[in-house]
Symmetry: none
Subunit: 402 residues, 2 copies
């Protein structure tokens, strides 16, 4: 059973409009027994008022106990089962630096590392050189050319950079060369299937050149190749759901993920939630589905800054009337995973979901938070259920079966 | 997608410690409308206090409506999907009598039965002879020898006994010979695949000998062979979860199941919950995962003795501080299924789960019982989710995907 195919067969274009407002890492934890989560601690009068015409729920993003990376979190949100589909790390990293990845490109996440005179890795992160030091070495590596393909090298942060090969007939089934420990040389670049042999040969040439160029660049005198991957070729979101879909995001990675699944990416200069919402308003007539991505809830969660995460949620709430004024048929507010400030990392805790629509089974009004969502009319769902629920509440899904 | 493989890739050994305290058959039912379940009726001040720093939930062991046997209940608890994996009845029965089953052994659960002069079964349980009568006949059967294999026969209870063949090249794909009705002869011993042909031939020899020996032993003048099975070869628990794991159990079957999945089994003379907890304390430094099995909640449930089941729960609660003093990073309290005294049998009702950990999403403090668990922060889960959740709360699971 291919569930996406079933959904595609049911999806109708009735012109109803859906906003999916994502606060990255929204889910949280109380700092102490009896305390409140970030969302519960935030003063959110607009969201709280919205609960009177919403169904609330809690959602497991991937599966109980799984702490999703950004890739699986977003895939699940867009309805692609994250246990069956993965976006390779090289692809995510290239998207994260805003690289305009093409369907046949092979993307690689590289780490500068330190080799000793026998070629053994003595530091897998090259002393965590600064971003400036990393970028300077990336500049040197840009001189490497390879026969018959284009080569792109871009700095990421500190010791990390991306390498992309563009050409024909390039497979990506090549394991990482990082041995995950020191005292041994990098692993050989070895194709796992014949389709990747050409790529492996090109990468061996590139790596040999890179080692020559970096020879006098200690501590970053070599590099490892990781997450070698291509666009997974997911079926396009606008076709599955029969909807004109656009993304409003500030960070490149989220624009990139949206582009991978065929959503339009609206270019803008917005930074705050209010500015992002203004972009939605500006393009309101052009699309029926808007994915609006708020990043900083996650960033402050990762920093362990409970109060700052609360502040971002409050800024979103304060700006919310601008979205409500557009009178979307369905407004969904959720996260792609939890990032509790208490844990300073992505976590496995289920994420609150608010689905406002005339067709929702309203519960009693409550504060929008984990506790209220536990009691909500949506119950306990998984993130892959969110798109079908959004379409259904917009009357965009026909009956299944006769 | 092999979920255990995904978990194995994420599992890290950070030294955090987990106790899984299992009260067999914990879930219960109120005797009357408006009444309380066994767990709710029990006075459990220690568990109730623990809810303030726990996430609670209810768990379906296999699937809604499925009443699990002990095998599926424990497999699910240990994270092996009980719909995909089964421990054959012969194996479970051999483990239950404490037989030291080896990976290539073929284990069979046998029933004494009564045949008439035409060889038709007239009583499938041989008049339910006493355990002493059964054991006496088992003794007689021990004289049967087979070429090239070792043969073990052990009494179980009343008309039931186990037969184990040990040797090389023994398949187990042979259906039961019990026709499940009287008036017909036992079914022939027939291999379902060539790998089991040698076993079938040996069993035919054994059964012919057994009939000779039992000829004058009415009403137990023959036997049927059931649940012919081998160790299912499950991937080892300590490898999947990257954890040093040990079992503290009183009954042989639970030690046997733990051994099947590669857990260490701690030998001891403990009988009461307090004594079992003392064994955990004694071995605290040797392991990071302790499976502690309390049997009598189930036994009294099967007896229909509500008050005695309540008493066992209270004894566990009274002894609980000894486990809490060890300060495990995660303490899980649950059952392997419900055994409501009202029904005197295993049932399908979801089982209460208490997960105490600093990283849990605490709900408001409540009594530990089915009603409080229904409102809990863990929501409704399945037993196969329990291990991923336990590891996650111990920070022993890395992020899934980039």
């Amino acid at each position: 059973m291919n569930k996406l195919k079933l959904i595609q067969d049911m999806a109708v274009d009735n012109g109803a409009k859906i906003i999916l407002l994502l606060m990255d890492g929204l889910g949280g934890l109380p700092l102490e027994p009896g305390g409140r989560t970030e969302l519960e601690a935030a003063h959110t009068p607009n969201m709280d008022a919205l609960t009177a015409r919403s169904a609330l729920g809690l959602s497991d993003v991937v599966a109980p106990g799984f702490s999703p990376g950004s890739g699986p979190g977003h895939l699940a949100l867009f309805g692609y089962d994250p246990l069956e589909n993965l976006i390779g790390r090289g692809v995510l990293e290239a998207l994260g630096v805003g690289f305009d990845l093409q369907p046949d490109d092979v993307a690689i996440r590289c780490n500068f590392c330190t080799l000793d005179e026998q070629g053994r890795i003595i530091d897998r992160r090259a002393g965590r050189i600064s971003s400036a030091e990393g970028a300077r070495r990336v500049e040197l590596l840009r001189q490497i050319q390879l026969p018959g393909v284009e080569v792109f090298v871009d700095p990421v942060k500190e010791y990390r950079f991306t390498l992309v090969l563009r050409g024909e007939g390039l497979g990506a089934d090549i394991p990482d060369t990082d041995p995950q420990r020191t005292g041994v040389p990098p692993l050989p670049i070895a194709a796992q299937d014949p389709a990747a042999e050409k790529t492996a040969e090109l990468l061996r040439q590139w790596w040999a050149e890179a080692n020559k160029i970096l020879a006098d660049q200690l501590p970053a005198n070599s590099c490892t190749l990781r997450g070698i991957a291509k666009d997974p070729g997911l079926p396009p979101f606008p076709e599955i759901y029969n909807i004109r879909a656009a993304t409003v995001a500030v960070y490149p990675m989220y624009k990139g993920v949206a582009k991978l699944i065929g959503m339009d990416v609206i270019e803008h200069t917005a930074e705050t939630p209010a500015e992002e919402f203004a972009v939605v308003k500006q393009h309101w007539d052009d699309y029926d589905f808007f994915f609006v991505h708020i990043k900083k809830t996650d960033s402050y969660g990762e920093d362990g800054d409970f109060a700052a995460k609360v502040g971002v949620i409050e800024a979103v709430d304060h700006a919310l009337p601008a979205l409500l004024d557009l009178q979307p048929d369905v407004l969904l507010i959720t996260g792609d995973h939890a990032t509790p400030a208490k844990l300073k990392r992505h976590s496995w805790h289920p994420v609150p979901v608010l689905l406002a629509a005339d067709s929702a089974r309203f519960g009693p009004p409550t504060a929008f938070g984990e506790t209220g969502c536990r009691q909500g009319a949506l119950g306990q769902i998984r993130h892959v259920d969110i798109m079908p629920l959004a379409l259904a509440h917009a009357m965009r899904l026909d009956k299944y079966g006769a």
